[in-house]
Subunit: 299 residues, 2 copies
Amino acid sequence: MKEEKIISLLKRRFKSPKGIVGIGDDCAVLPYSKKEYLLFTTDTILEDVHFKISHISPYYIGYKALAVNISDIAAMGGIPLYAVINLGLPEFNLKLVDAVYRGVKKIACDFDVRIVGGDTVKSGKLFLAVCMMGKVEKKFLVKREGARAGDLIAVTGQIGNAYVSGKHYKFTPRLKEARWIVKNLKPSSMIDISDGLVIDLFRICQASKKGAVIIKDEIPVSSGVKNFYSAITEGEDFELLFTIPSKNKFQDKIPETKTKITIIGEITCRPGIYLKTAQKLKKIKPQGYDHFERNNFGI
Amino acid sequence: MKEEKIISLLKRRFKSPKGIVGIGDDCAVLPYSKKEYLLFTTDTILEDVHFKISHISPYYIGYKALAVNISDIAAMGGIPLYAVINLGLPEFNLKLVDAVYRGVKKIACDFDVRIVGGDTVKSGKLFLAVCMMGKVEKKFLVKREGARAGDLIAVTGQIGNAYVSGKHYKFTPRLKEARWIVKNLKPSSMIDISDGLVIDLFRICQASKKGAVIIKDEIPVSSGVKNFYSAITEGEDFELLFTIPSKNKFQDKIPETKTKITIIGEITCRPGIYLKTAQKLKKIKPQGYDHFERNNFGI
């Protein structure tokens, strides 16, 4: 994938010193206090790439811009604290700005995130580049690396149809779920599904130097899904994908939120992602949403 | 100014809790350790607004994106630590990405900033939204508010011609200077001149609930300046503008860097910015670079 090429260029150019997780996870992990790390993440949402002005109200554009960053903090097991927002605005339109920031405020209040700064620039297309800071207790930090052969692969909620259903605008970041998971299931790795189940599982495998087998019939696809392959590659589900050492106790429902957890496969020594059906075991390409590939799904 | 309207909308919507400096200064100031605050800032540079692809090499686009954020950290008296970068890219072009990040790396190395993450999105125009984290000793923190009547107004280096000379791409952020100033001159307020001497002085006055008189003949304009008024309003100088209680000792040159410091006026009780010439005292509009005004200077 082309995006991966950019990421590896960056990884090579900006090597992280010892004790710091830099480029290549959902958040950077930085020194903070004796018992906690600081988390630092950023995500941009851009008109005609992540949303269409004609499809959705500005309120949900603001909402989503914060939600995707909260989802990144959740994926490391942490808690969001502060955010700054870069707003690219096609024209001076206070009503639009107000609506975008009403959406930002709603989710910021819900998740106790303080908006502490930002920058507004004139831009041909509307965009929001949000940067978020959070923290995580050292004992609860979970990264993409850490999955071991034999670990179970689990996913929250349902996969697929995020674009068609509008879930990708209005989703509730899985923060409560992530906090419950790190405290109770002790996952060996975790990621949020932003670019698609397959590519995000591939990212866990790559970071952990492992492979995976997922079982087609076990994958909890949304009820409206027509094409199974699209469901596992189109992305924007913002569910949690994680691995659990098989010796750990397991529970298939998160008590507080009633969110379902489904075991969908197993980490393997053999590299590559394999899809298991009743008939066969088929290697699948690590495909998902890529900004620079032609066959993009999405809007 | 229209940009100010957006900022006041944000200030109203996102009030900061006690002990936190939020929207409205160069950086957010957040709790960190017993003796230090965390600084958090963000700035975007965008094709055809802050640079033209045909004017400048991608190297300096990367360089500038980091430099403007380092300048914000410097303006609070702090030290930069970490940055994440959102890159908006018109097409998949690894050579371009590499050149941009070579510029980023150069200045990151010079100023000891760790690049710890980022996001790459497809975008019609090239942009870099950088978010930077830094720290400042509590005793050295300096904000926009804090100027008192009678304080001297001072500026580093020279003002004007930043666009024509190319200084706005290649400037060295005044970090060493800022650190020397907070340690030795004990300024009562400080800002970096990004949108123009007049508007940025107005921001100090507004935050401090004061006014100012600046003396035309004292303002150190660059040698190539043809229009005095443009020089003090066009912006992108990235010099430091600060106020010093008149009882503090003063030195007009920073020993390590040989940077000149010039006293250009005085803070007053009377609101408004006044320009003093040999003939008269004239009130001037708080004008500067505004993304949403028609009479923009710059490229």
